[in-house]
């Protein structure tokens, strides 16, 4: 089966081994070392690491479409945020009457805006299964509609990048509006508990961290499975020579649509796991800057490797945490410099620098690919 095949690969096993080792080490250090020990991992750090893992899953999703399908999406933040909002809506409903205004049904911001009843699209989010299904369906549906329109009319390359950016920009503007019913500027926050567990306890935080780790592992295996399948090879063919693949009789737009939707769903899951850990979701997750930042994580780690995306996401975000803490002004310089340096000097990223990727996996730079991307 295509999902079990990657488990037999050495590279996947290594990745999963490292990931699980990291999860176990962090858990052990968090639970079994005393608070004042130098080795102790605080709950804050656990949540921070959980956040990195969410970003890693998001980066894997972007690498799937950019690395293997040749579609540079500058709007994956939108899928991430939609997943996050679906989860945020569930968490809002879980607050119940413990909010500031004590309304059993309406979230605080709706009471504040004098809304009388719940909008229809908030119905059902009090049930966990429905909310979790929406985490997959909302981004998936957007990707399906958008991708269907775009791929059918063969919008590719730079054009696609720019309209994905316009998509997330439009969504950001929309979610900033109070009338949308998603909390406007402030977004959704003040969450209490998830599935009955209090979000503010260390145990829940550790649980979320571990869940994110498992989600990343599953997401990685799914992507790896797709990439190594026949469909994955057609996807790579689309990336390198779209026109030629089409002439060979493959339905390029269907392959593209399938991979794009899967990637959007993965991004949605990443967003859903992100929200309970950081405790807030607001429209800034839709900002074009965030979406393009994801791309640079992938570029730094190494495009079309999947594990490179994970490395890139964790490294860049660690650097961001450190730099914004030490000297906030320097962060944008560093990020901007990273964009330039990686594209000009490190086209294959860290993965290309450290490991020698197999020839077939690297994006070819032949005239055909230019024909497809220009």
């Amino acid at each position: 089966m295509w999902l079990t095949r990657p488990l037999a690969e050495r590279s996947t096993r290594t990745f999963l081994g490292v990931l699980f080792a990291a999860l176990v080490i962090v858990t052990v250090l968090h639970v079994f070392t005393p608070q004042d020990s130098a080795l102790h991992v605080s709950a804050y750090t656990v949540t921070l690491l959980g956040k990195y893992l969410c970003y890693a899953l998001l980066a894997v999703a972007v690498d799937l479409v950019w690395g293997y399908l040749g579609i540079l999406s500058l709007g994956h933040g939108a899928f991430f945020a939609l997943g996050g909002y679906a989860m945020g809506m569930y968490l809002m409903r879980q607050i119940g009457d413990r909010g500031t205004y004590g309304d059993p049904v309406l979230p605080d911001f709706m009471v504040f805006l004098n809304w009388q009843e719940l909008p229809w699209y908030w119905l059902g989010f009090d049930m966990a299964w429905f909310a979790f299904a929406m985490v997959l369906l909302a981004p998936g549906l957007l990707a399906l509609v958008f991708g269907f329109l775009a791929f059918r009319s063969r919008v590719t390359g730079v054009y696609l990048s720019i309209i994905t950016q316009a998509l997330t920009f439009a969504l950001m503007l929309a979610f900033f509006r109070n009338e949308m019913g998603f909390g406007g500027n402030n977004g959704l926050t003040d969450f209490r508990d998830i599935l009955g567990f209090n979000l503010r306890t260390d145990a829940t935080r550790l649980g979320l961290f571990l869940a994110t780790g498992v989600a990343l592992a599953i997401g990685f295996v799914i992507c790896r499975g797709i990439v190594t399948s026949k469909l994955g090879r057609v996807a790579v063919a689309c990336r390198d020579a779209e026109a030629r693949t089409r002439f060979l009789g493959y339905r390029v737009e269907r392959v593209q649509l399938f991979v794009f939707v899967i990637s959007a769903m993965l991004a949605g899951v990443a967003g859903a796991l992100y929200v309970p850990q950081v405790g807030i979701i607001n429209p800034s997750e839709f900002s074009p800057l965030f979406s393009i930042e994801i791309v640079v994580w992938v570029a730094l780690g190494g495009r079309a490797t999947l594990y490179g995306a994970v490395i890139g996401a964790v490294l860049v975000n660690y650097a961001k945490t450190v730099l914004t803490g030490v000297m906030p002004d320097a962060w944008l310089f560093a990020l901007g410099g990273l964009f330039v340096l990686v594209t000009v000097f490190l086209p294959k990223g860290i993965a290309g620098l450290v490991f020698k990727p197999k020839k077939a996996a690297a994006p070819a730079n032949n005239p055909d690919s230019q024909e497809a991307t220009v």
Binding site: Q165, A170, V295, F339
Partner: protein, 534 residues
């Protein structure tokens, strides 16, 4: 000899001034008498005195009556000197002489005796003041007064206005007076003949008067008023459409300015420059810097910023091209990422070096204000200038691309680089120059934008997506397409705004473009021929 001549000249000068001096003395005793009469008479008599003052023809009469109406005309108890109080806060009041206008310093309010006025007189005074204005020798102040009269004519004034109309020489003043009188007659007397005068008037008071007439019992009057109202409504709709169109064109020209540089770098060279917005920002900051260098001369600074902004942005463009873009030739997605990095660096640079806060760019006097077309439509001057500037820049670029050697070489290199090089064109030099040109135009856009929007580190970011949309919508590599797309998008946005609000209008335009791209992936005017393949 010399001394005698000097003395005689001195004498001559004195004799020349003497009669005038004497005259002023005489008038002032008269003025003193008038004001004394005003102060000492009873409220009943004051009305007559006021009329005497108004008809005295004294230039200062207006000031006296105005301060009298607002309780600021007063007399110093000890000397009987008449004063105008300029600041009546606190215990000591600042005053100036009512006769000479000379500043007399501060007086304790106990020493000051205010000339008393009541509400009946105040109402009276308002009319008299407007009549004084209407008799003023200056035509423009007569016109302002006549316009202000619309809707504020009362029965007392209505008797005097016809006389004023007859003696009035200037046509616009007379028209305004006639209209003011007609508004009074329609509203208060239900005058059928006056309704005719009001049909086609754009004044809101005229509409209010007609609405009042429409509610009357006289069917003939109602019919006439309804007819007049219809014609007004038609005219208003037309004016509103013209206003929307103007706002649309103005917004469109901003979009064209922001996008046209991109149309060169993206459309002609195929280079995705995400730092384009920041080049616009540099142009805007150049304007600000120029105004800091030339304090007190914002107009001159603005004009000098046009070449300066072009040069600064073009220079920045050359640096970007040489350090980043040239290594990424033929890899558009990588170029996009790298130039995005450059844009982040430029933004942060401005934040660190200048300030994270918005800077104030002064609008020179000749650019502020508006042109009044009629009472329902006035065009703001700065936007008018931006529209003109956008068209000039567009025409300039068109000329460069069509008529100069550079334009020819650029087109040649775009179409077939290898062939152009073998014909002896130095492709690298063309690349640099083209990129510099596109960037410089972004700088020009920044200079223009500094006049209509906030100048801050995020200025560029807010325009980059819109600019790309314009270029893509218009068809890559087509300057005419960019012009048309920019103007169209601006107008559509303005048409939608009153219906759905600014944010939703923007979202709808974005969604519309996304859908449009599905239908026509190559824009409004796709490139044809071999250059289009790729």
């Amino acid at each position: 000899m010399g001394i005698i001549r000097l003395l005689s000249q001195l004498l001559l000068v004195c004799s020349l001034f003497w009669p005038g001096f004497a005259q002023a003395q005489v008038e002032d005793t008269e003025a003193q008498q008038l004001l004394t009469a005003l102060a000492d008479s009873s409220f009943a008599e004051k009305k007559a005195v006021v009329n005497r003052i108004a008809s005295s023809g004294d230039e200062r009469a207006r000031g006296w009556l105005e301060s009298f109406a607002s309780n600021k005309l007063a007399r110093i108890e000890s000397s009987g000197q008449f004063i105008i109080v300029t600041d009546n806060r606190g215990r000591d009041w600042t005053v100036q002489s009512a006769l000479t206008g000379e500043n007399l310093g501060e007086f304790s309010r106990r020493d000051i005796d205010t000339v008393r006025v009541n509400n009946a007189l105040r109402g009276e005074l308002e009319d008299i003041l407007s009549v004084i204005d209407l008799k003023s020798p200056d035509q423009s102040s007569r016109l302002t007064a006549a316009r202000a009269l619309k809707g504020s004519v009362d029965s007392a004034l209505a008797e005097r206005v016809p006389g004023l109309i007859d003696s009035e020489q200037s046509e616009p003043v007379r028209a305004a007076l006639t209209e003011a009188l007609a508004i009074y007659r329609v509203a208060e007397q239900g005058d059928l003949a006056a309704v005719e005068t009001l049909s086609g008037s754009l004044n809101s008071q005229a509409r209010a008067a007609l609405q009042q007439a429409m509610r009357s019992d006289d069917p003939a009057l109602v019919a006439a008023a309804t007819k007049a109202m219809d014609s007004i409504e038609q005219k208003l709709t037309l004016n509103r459409a013209a206003e929307t169109l103007y706002f649309g064109l103005s917004m469109g020209s901003v979009l064209v300015l922001a996008a046209i540089g991109l149309a060169i770098t993206f459309g002609v060279m195929g280079v995705i420059n995400m730092a384009h917005g920041e080049l616009i920002m540099l142009g805007a900051y150049t304007t600000w810097g120029m105004q800091q260098l030339l304090p007190g001369q914002p107009g001159l600074a603005l004009i000098l910023s046009i070449p300066a902004g072009f040069l600064v942005a073009a220079l920045a463009g050359v640096v970007i091209e040489r350090t980043v873009i040239q290594y990424l030739k033929g890899r558009p997605l990588e170029t996009l990422l790298a130039t995005f990095g450059v844009s982040l660096i430029l933004q942060q640079l401005v934040r660190t070096v200048v300030s994270p806060l918005n800077r104030t760019v002064i609008t020179p006097e000749w650019m502020s204000g508006s042109v009044m077309i009629n009472e329902a439509l006035s065009l703001t001057l700065n936007r008018l200038y931006v529209i003109g500037f956008a068209l000039v820049v567009f025409a300039g670029l068109m000329l460069i691309m069509r008529k100069t050697r550079l334009g020819l070489e650029v087109r040649a290199v775009t179409q077939n680089r290898a062939m152009a090089r073998s014909m002896g064109i130095r492709a690298t030099r063309v690349d640099i120059l083209t990129f510099a040109l596109g960037s410089g135009v972004a700088g020009l856009a920044g200079v223009a934008l500094s006049q209509i929007t906030n100048v801050g580190p995020n200025l560029g970011q807010s325009y980059i997506i819109d600019s790309f949309m314009v270029v893509v919508f218009g068809g890559v590599g087509n300057l005419w397409g960019t012009l048309l797309a920019g103007l169209t998008l601006g107008t559509i946005n303005q048409l939608l705004e009153p219906w759905v609000g600014a944010v939703l209008a923007k979202i709808m335009v974005l969604v519309m473009i996304i859908l449009f791209i599905q239908k026509r992936p190559r824009g409004l005017f796709p490139q044809k021929g071999r250059a289009a393949e790729g």
